[in-house]
Symmetry: C2
Amino acid sequence: MDKTLRKGLQLLETLAASNGPRGAAELGRELDLTRSNVSRLLGTLAELGFVRRADEAGRYAATLKAWEIGMRIMSRDPLRRTAQPFLRALHAETGLNVFLAVLDGDDVLYLDKVEANTISHVSAQPGMRLPAFLISSGRAMLAWHKPEMVGARVASHPRTAGLDRDDLSADLTLTRERGWAMTVDGSREGVISLAVPVFLADLPVAAVAMSGPKAELDQKRREALLPALLNAAARISEALAHIG
Amino acid sequence: MDKTLRKGLQLLETLAASNGPRGAAELGRELDLTRSNVSRLLGTLAELGFVRRADEAGRYAATLKAWEIGMRIMSRDPLRRTAQPFLRALHAETGLNVFLAVLDGDDVLYLDKVEANTISHVSAQPGMRLPAFLISSGRAMLAWHKPEMVGARVASHPRTAGLDRDDLSADLTLTRERGWAMTVDGSREGVISLAVPVFLADLPVAAVAMSGPKAELDQKRREALLPALLNAAARISEALAHIG
DNA sequence: GACTTCTGTTGCGTATTTTGAACTATAGGA
DNA sequence: TCCTATAGTTCAAAATACGCAACAGAAGTC
């Protein structure tokens, strides 16, 4: 059960998702807790260093401690570790933004990104979630799942605006047949994205994606770039198999 | 007080620092908790998604949930957000690895890094901590602190191997006079690192550092690169002042 | 400026919650 | 095969966290 731990972590999570510092009453209303309860929880979270008083008025903000702990976890992640050199090579070869993503529930979670060091505000960032159907990485992974499982997900997910179930189904079939996924204006207007799944024991455990401006990626260019993407994903799959 | 929250977060932290999956008894010994207590805490952490059973034997490992939450926190960090474009510009101008770091207690905490996309295993990674005295970023920030405060830190810190207090004190004075810090073989053998503090309201709140191989960075090259570093730090300070 | 209504924090008594020992079950090693 | 690890569960005892109320202060309103 451990109710206190539950509430404390929920509180931390809420604070992490908040834009600015927040007070106890406000947080209490959002989480259905009393002011005094929230106040005390914030006090202990502050003692532990996960939170700090931002105002003299008693509003709190999340510190970087959770980030630090999270980075330590991520630094050991075997998927990211084995994939990273291949992602860098792929970026070097294509000049495009390169992503590594996994499927978590109905979302895609971005694990890594290699981008040009120019100031290009890519929408997808490591740590972000996006609905799997909208983006190429998600479709690449879904295409290798059982159709009935995918169907259930389409039906259950609310954000299917402008996306017919049959269209999606057809796209996934096509994706699986040709071996790669593509979305146009998926995560961001004017962006084309290509993705290929990474397999471990015949399961699509991740996806490698690369994206660039629509104007730059005409069909000829895409065809020229695809082999590098397919190769990168294949080599990551192979490397994963050797690790375990 | 909130003892349960305390223990739960301590458990998560320990698990995040562990190399592989760990069992309840083992963790209990390390944290002075009973097996049943740890077992229950792990159960709720698993329910909340922060931890998962890695073995069928009942050993647990941290998931990426803490990382995800942490990344959401970091994505809003004003220091990193304002610094990032300048760090990228500095990297583009110099070709060196560029770092952003803050001082936390006796350690330096790396917030960001811009490096060449080639496979170069830099020792410092975002999220990592290193003793402030050892590395240029730390010295850059310490040099603008009150000497007595620094002295207390030197005395208290155990890892002062091969580092005389007077030598350090002299180096900090020199650093402050010339406006930048330098370490040779600081974080890693064969690496030279240069750093300059970033100020907010006359306090050294961060440091920008850049590093490269000793062979590449002779004095002539260093003198050529320094203005870019000083300029980057100054512009970040200025940008910070405009934000608040 | 006085008033009203928020805010965060803190005692305190109650009762909910957590706790640790004992117990079961299972797995690995000698 | 036994022995000793392990993890997980039950239950009564007790420590703990809870909400209410009270207080102090801030912020907005008339």
